[in-house]
Symmetry: C2
Subunit: 198 residues, 2 copies
DNA sequence: GCTTTATCTGAACACCCGTTCAGTTCAACC
DNA sequence: GGTTGAACTGAACGGGTGTTCAGATAAAGC
């Protein structure tokens, strides 16, 4: 036996990444073997190396793709003019995007230490760019007086941690619907930055 | 060679746990081997089994000890009467305690998936008890009108995520002193729950 | 000073790891 | 329909894994 009937590089590649994402999110990068990923795809371990040069690159690609998609998706959100409107949009976007991609979020936050320094820096740069998008909103609100913020960087980190935390407890079909959660978190975020509501 | 000069169970046991905590926090449970831990202690791998029945129990003990210490430490904080005072005390306590134990915090949050179900449930119970302590404060404030909270459980999760997030970016000797961070986070937390300041 | 015993070594156990590669198979093209 | 080349297998490589245990050593108690 060698080549499977109906096999295609175009379908196997994505399936490898999907299986890796699922397994790594569940068990952690170090705890998942290439053989486990291969078994999930229905292939021998050696075949994975047609789609990634090594295990760590597979992880790196998952993280980079996730963060680039995050940045692109936020840039695609229609721009609001007022800081309050922009913050409202950010909160809804952030929660929605992250709940849709719980696995990728988990990996991008937890597996940083398994990257070599250069790649770690690359991923951190992308994350930093996203944080800067929120900080720009907070700074704008601080400047025009619609927010009251002692330190925009601190508020940025506080809000992102608060919002991302939703992925740790949210379960589909739980007590609260996503829209309700987004609304409540939007209010808490606006309150936290001392928004003078209008 | 066998027994080392000046060896003691009383000193080796804690050193094993300390080495395990340091290494697991840095590299992750699955990525750290018993031989690495032993080398850090200055002992052969086999000797570790005088202090733990197996690797997973070592992890479990670290997590349980951390959370029990957390609960005990909070119970030792002098009780405030008003919800606002209690929330202020909680924020300062939480940030201070967590910044003092960055390694243990990291482990207790990231390595849950490496516990067998029964132990996972045990750790989650302890964490839940701590969350309940905050929720009780928020409920009290909601009842007496000093806070404005649509959903106390949501607010609890939001605040804990926000506060614990500090451990991800705080560095000793950084731009802001701990007291400043605690003050700013206290204000953000009070704002987030709609505290009518007095 | 001798015995006891807690502490630790070093080797072994069976198994799993990431990665490579010669060889096999099947789809696609001429 | 024969040839080419992409897709994949299966075995092997050197090395690491958690854990066990007989034996060695040094501290503690008499």
């Amino acid at each position: 036996m060698a080549r499977k009937t109906g096999s295609h590089s175009q379908t196997t590649g994505p399936r490898v990444r999907a299986a890796a994402a699922r397994l790594i999110a569940r068990h952690g990068y170090a705890a998942v073997s290439m053989r486990q990923i291969a078994a999930e795809v229905g292939v021998q371990a050696g075949a994975l190396y047609l789609y990634t040069p090594d295990k760590q690159t597979l992880l790196y690609d998952l993280m980079r793709d996730h963060l680039e998609e995050l940045l692109a998706a936020w840039q695609a959100v229609p721009a609001e003019t007022s800081p309050e409107g922009r913050l409202r949009a950010f909160v809804r976007f952030h929660i929605g995007f992250h709940l849709d991609r719980a696995e990728a979020v988990f990996i991008a936050y937890m597996e940083l230490r398994n990257l070599e320094p250069a790649r770690f820096a690359e991923i951190e740069k992308l994350r930093h760019a996203y944080e800067d998008a929120l900080e720009a909103i907070l700074s704008a609100g601080q400047s025009d007086g619609s927010f009251s913020i002692p330190d925009t960087r601190l508020a940025t980190m506080a809000l992102i941690a608060m919002l991302t935390g939703v992925t740790n407890w949210y379960r589909e079909g739980g007590r609260l619907a996503r829209a309700e959660i987004e609304t409540i978190y939007t209010d808490m975020a606006l309150n936290a930055v001392g928004a003078t509501r209008g």
